[in-house]
């Protein structure tokens, strides 16, 4: 006799799923022959999607504070999950806000976009709450499949389709690795449940982990590294970021990345937390390689989206330092880092989205020249984001790096912290170059004015968060502290 699982913790996910399907229906039945109505429908769906994402955020907040295990331990809702879900929902909502105008201009304003973003969001929420290798895979694939499609959303554009295809093929390889790893773990341990895996390696049993199991873990780790685009599983990132429609790139750089980082922490610190000395060296290698590659490879880029791709690789490298440390301070550092990263990145991409010349999007770094003359406010905001990414105090990016490096130094990972600081010095070069181009290079052709109102709001809001973080750090830090603490209490 199977009992009915506790549905309360899953209410947000159920809500998102229902909304996704409802919006799909709405779009399908509203669909009319001419373009104008299609755009109108897309607009309506996008608006509704944004509203429901905000509502979901409230629903998520209602289950905050305590830990629930449900669906036979497949699904867990704890402060850690709540924190990351709220970040994800922010990412999705902001993405929808900056997307619509772009889609309309590119002639690809279709309601499916919103629906896909919402399903991807659902997948990410499940990923974050997964407490079993099965539900992990379920959420991951749901997210990935939606993302493959929106990467090719501009299907008449060669680069967009190429990006989608590459993402799909490489994603499939990564999924394969993940699955292979999962099967190894299951084969050597007899369970896929995180709780039971955790108990198995508890305390004295840690050295007992067999080689096969560790190889399984390494494969899982590789699959997850692909999702966060950490070196050497990053190769898809620049190509996909460049080819995908810009709002999609913005979404890629935050939503899935944050979800995958959450999953990374969940898996490594949760069931395999006691095996830390087995996988720590591997994460160190990945982290260092990501930081260095992110710093060096970005220097030569001329396309700003490609540059942002390498920048995001570098940021993941920094965040992974927190995972190497693998204690409460480290996890808290990652969580603060991802929150700040979310707002800086969305803001920066919103600025990129304003780069339009004679109605067409431009994305060369040199196209930004003279931005300070034509769009002084956007230029100032872009400068804020770049300074923040480079880690200049007193902007938010400085503090997020500070918490990470602090955690590393406290636990004795001096080399890692030093490499991090040095590579952020190299990284500062290309961030500051953007500012130089914006403020000091003579403009060759001016960019279009005025900018879309939604973009303006997003830029203003995110810039405000980045600037004022040092004054009111409590909101993010308190949440992160509570969530990180939940991860380490068993």
């Amino acid at each position: 006799m199977t009992e009915i699982p506790n549905m309360v913790p899953v209410i947000p996910e159920i809500f998102v799923a229902v909304i996704g399907m409802a919006l799909l229906m709405l779009g399908v039945f509203q669909k009319a022959a001419d373009d104008a109505t299609e755009v109108k429908t897309a607009h309506l769906v996008s608006r509704l999607g944004m509203i429901s994402l905000v509502l979901t955020m409230m629903l998520v907040a209602t289950v905050a504070g305590s830990t629930f295990n449900t669906f036979s331990g497949m699904f867990v809702s704890d402060p850690f999950a709540v924190y990351f879900k709220i970040l994800i929902l922010f990412a999705s909502a902001l993405t929808l806000a900056i997307s619509h105008n772009y889609m309309e201009n590119q002639g690809i304003a279709r309601f499916e976009y919103t629906v896909l973003v919402i399903f991807a969001t659902l997948g990410m929420m499940i990923m974050i709450s997964a407490s079993n290798l099965m539900s992990l895979y379920l959420g991951l694939e749901m997210q990935s499949l939606s993302l493959y499609v929106i990467a090719t959303f501009n299907r008449d554009d060669e680069r967009s389709t190429e990006a989608g295809l590459k993402y799909f093929v490489l994603g499939a390889v990564a999924s394969g690795m993940l699955l292979y790893g999962s099967s190894l773990v299951y084969g050597f341990s007899g369970t896929t449940d995180f709780q039971m895996l955790g108990n198995m390696f508890d305390g004295d049993h840690a050295p007992d982990a067999s080689l096969g199991l560790i190889v399984g873990i390494v494969f899982i780790l590789a699959g997850l590294s692909f999702k966060v685009s950490a070196v050497p599983f990053h190769m898809w990132t620049p190509d996909v970021y460049e080819g995908a429609p810009t709002p999609v790139t913005a979404f890629f750089s935050v939503g899935p990345k944050i979800a995958a980082i959450a999953l990374f922490i969940r898996v490594m610190v949760g069931p395999f937390g006691d095996l830390v000395q087995h996988w720590q060296q591997i994460i160190v290698l990945i982290s260092v390689a990501s930081m260095l590659l992110g710093a060096f490879a970005a220097i030569n880029q001329t396309n700003i989206k490609r540059m942002m791709a390498y920048s995001s690789i570098g940021h993941v490298g920094y965040a992974l330092i927190g995972l190497v440390v693998a204690n409460e301070a480290g996890v808290r550092g990652i969580m603060i880092y991802m929150a700040v990263y979310l707002f800086m990145n969305i803001g920066a991409f919103a600025c990129i989205l304003t780069m339009r010349r004679a109605g067409r999007m431009v994305e060369k770094i040199s196209d930004l020249s003279g931005l300070s003359k034509t769009h002084p406010m956007v230029a100032a905001a872009l400068a804020i984001f770049m300074f923040s990414m480079a880690g200049i105090p007193p902007l938010a990016g400085f503090f997020s790096k500070l918490y990470i490096f602090f955690a590393a130094v406290e636990s004795g990972f001096f080399a890692l912290a030093i490499i991090g600081v040095l590579s952020s010095v190299v990284g500062a070069f290309y961030y500051l170059r953007i500012i130089k181009v914006v403020y000091f290079d003579p403009p060759d052709e001016t960019l279009d004015t005025p900018i879309d109102r939604n973009l303006g709001y997003v830029i203003f809001g995110t810039a405000l968060i980045v600037v004022l973080f040092f004054a009111f750090p409590g909101i993010i830090i308190d949440g992160a502290s509570a969530a990180a603490a939940a991860m380490f209490t068993k």
Partner: protein
């Protein structure tokens, strides 16, 4: 009222400074209005300040009502307690009068002198700012506050010497003044540290009360034991030497004449350069307990007096002659202090302030008339064209040469008599040097007058056609100063150094019973009393013979003593020696550190090398991104192989 008197110049400086930042563009009328406003504000502030200073003098010095105004606490750290306080006793009151009156006159004079300058508000702001710092210096209640004023006047002096910053020579002179003063200020700072180490306080009152108890203490310097007060006083005196341009640290003063002439009159003659004398007098309770320090002061003062006087005889730039004369007169003041006749030193400081400012402003008037010509060889025969200036220069020169009844007669005489009256070896040295210098002083003063105003004109005709008397706004300050040069000595004599002296100075100056040079001075024999006047007249006479009646002789004399003349004319080769000893090596070391140390080594290995390596790496890394799917998959699989291998080798 004391507070108002001190801070009025600061307020004026801020207002005028703000005007200097106002951009008027090409609007001439607006600029003229702004200039006039700046002039009114600063001159008004200074005149008011001068009136207050006179009232304060009456109350404090004549009424015997010394007081200290506490403003607020500045530093409190452990046993170090420093507050902003204005200490006004007779000494300060005298200084305040000299500073504010001369400064007010210079301000007014500047209205005329600087009328064609594009930066009037800035100039007036600097002048007022200087005056504020100078007042801060003389009213200081502790050594640190004095140091604040001391550095402040140094800063203003730097700004004003380099006022015409488009002139490379002005910039060089400004830097030189600043750097040379740094040497002195370093000594001053070390002196303050030593005092604090000995007394655990920098407040003057506390130090002065504690001096008798510490009179025989020794301190350890570089391992040796030395008399503490001597060390402190000598260090402090190094500071005084720097600011007052005494032998060794004098080289900046002649170069400082690159600044506008009113600046030379105010800062480099009447006020700032006398700060050293003031400091020694102010710290008389310290110096009194160190015979060695007093001897050093006497010798340095006497040597400077004669040394600078010889150079002044050979210079041809009218302002430089007066500059060296200032240097020489400061020497007089110092050796007066050195023989414990502080009041005589301050007396000469005051009278000198008036007549030297008069001479400078008079020279400025001549320069103004001669279309900015400063070389005396290109002047001459202009006394009919600028009679008022001519007359005023006579007054100033007579005072400087110490001719009765002009101010200089009284003050210089008492100094020389005190030096004689000290009955010490050093006092005797200073006395004879002083007499010799007095002779030379009279000689070069009349050399200036005769070369400038008499004889055939050596200027070209275009300049001569423009020679004109200065406007009233420039002449009135001159007349006020001339009145000071005429009467200050006679009026002040009794109070400053005469029978009323003890009552007048109160506790501002301390002289031990064993040092009664001043008392002895009043009983000096006839020849001592009248020798200075005699040599003064002789000097004037010689100047008339050489430059008026037999103008061929100077050249003959120069030919006879060519090596000596060259040596003196080149200012005893001080600049060259310093250049060789300090400047060149410093430049050499600096250039080496810059070119090889910083440029080749640090830049090459550091920023430049690193950035080259970075760019190179960036290119290689970017090439990895081929765009082919199978490359990417290969990288992923290769990655996982590396990771697993690494785990097996390390982690397992």
């Amino acid at each position: 009222m004391i507070t108002t008197a001190v801070f009025l110049p600061l307020i004026a400086a801020i207002i005028a400074g703000a005007m200097a930042f106002t951009n008027t563009g090409d609007d001439k009328a607006k600029k003229a209005r702004l200039d006039m406003m700046a002039q009114y504000v600063t001159c008004g502030g200074l005149l008011l300040s001068a009136i207050f200073a006179i009232v304060i003098f009456k109350d404090v010095a004549l009424g015997g009502n010394a007081q200290t105004v506490q403003l607020f606490s500045w530093i409190e750290s452990g046993s170090l307690n420093i507050s902003w306080a204005l200490r006004v006793d007779s000494l300060t009151a005298v200084m305040m009068i000299v500073v504010t009156v001369v400064s007010a006159m210079v301000h007014v004079y500047s209205i005329g002198y600087m009328s064609h300058d594009p930066d009037v508000p800035r100039f007036m702001a600097y002048l007022s700012l200087f005056t504020f710092f100078m007042l801060m210096l003389v009213t200081a209640d502790n050594l640190v506050q004095m140091f604040f004023g001391w550095e402040g006047v140094g800063l203003s002096s730097y700004l004003l010497i380099g006022f015409w910053y488009n002139k490379p020579s002005a910039n060089a002179a400004a830097i030189k003044a600043f750097v040379v003063n740094r040497v002195g200020d370093f000594g001053f700072a070390l002196g303050i540290f030593t005092v604090f180490m000995m007394f655990d306080s920098v407040n003057l009152d506390e130090i002065f009360t504690a001096v008798p108890m510490k009179a025989n203490d020794t301190i350890s310097v570089f391992g040796g034991q030395f008399h503490g007060l001597t060390v402190a006083c000598l260090l402090l005196f190094v500071g005084a030497m720097g600011k007052s341009a005494q032998l060794g640290l004098h080289t900046w003063l002649p170069d400082a004449m690159e600044g506008p002439t009113p600046v030379s009159a105010l800062i480099h003659a009447a006020t700032m350069v006398t700060a050293g004398v003031f400091m020694v007098a102010r710290l008389s309770p310290l110096f009194e307990y160190s015979e060695v320090a007093l001897s050093v002061v006497t010798i340095v003062g006497g040597s400077t007096a004669i040394f600078a006087a010889t150079i002044a005889c050979t210079q041809t730039d009218i302002k430089r002659v007066i500059a060296y004369s200032t240097c020489s007169q400061l020497g007089y003041m110092f050796f007066a202090c050195g023989v414990s006749a502080y009041s005589a030193g301050i007396f000469h400081l005051m009278t000198h302030g008036f007549f030297k400012a008069l001479l400078f402003l008079g020279a400025g008037s001549v320069i103004h008339a001669m279309s900015d010509e400063q070389d005396m060889r290109k002047m001459g025969g202009i006394r009919k064209m600028i009679p008022v200036t001519y007359a005023l220069m006579w007054v100033g020169s007579l005072a400087l040469a110490g001719i009765w009844p002009f101010a200089g007669f009284y003050s210089k005489d008492i100094i020389l008599e005190a030096a004689w009256g000290a009955h010490t070896l050093t006092g005797g040295y200073a006395f004879w040097m002083g007499i010799l210098a007095a002779f030379l002083t009279a000689f070069y003063s009349w050399r200036v007058i005769l070369m400038t105003f008499h004889g055939e004109s050596r200027a070209d005709e275009r300049v001569l056609a423009h020679v004109h008397e200065s406007p009233k706004v420039m002449l009135v300050p001159l007349i006020v100063l001339a009145a000071g040069a005429l009467f200050a000595g006679y009026i002040g004599y009794e109070s400053f150094v005469g029978q009323k002296g003890v009552e007048f100075w109160g506790s501002a100056i301390l002289v031990l019973d064993s040092h009664q040079a001043l008392e002895a001075a009043h009983h000096a024999p006839f020849w001592v009393k009248y020798l200075p006047l005699g040599v003064g007249v002789a000097g004037i006479g010689l100047a008339y013979v050489l430059y008026m009646w037999k103008p061929a002789i100077p050249a003959l004399i120069v030919d006879q003593i060519r090596p000596l003349y060259t040596f003196v004319h080149n200012k005893w080769y001080f600049d060259e020696a310093y250049d060789f000893l300090f400047v060149k090596p410093a430049f050499y070391i600096g250039r080496n550190l810059w070119k090889t140390g910083d440029g080749a080594l640090i830049d090459g290995l550091g920023p430049d090398g690193l950035s080259a390596v970075t760019l190179n790496l960036a290119k290689r890394v970017a090439r990895l991104q081929s765009g082919y799917l199978y490359h990417y998959v290969f990288a992923m699989l290769g990655g996982i192989i590396v990771l697993i291998t690494m785990y097996m080798l390390l982690g397992g």
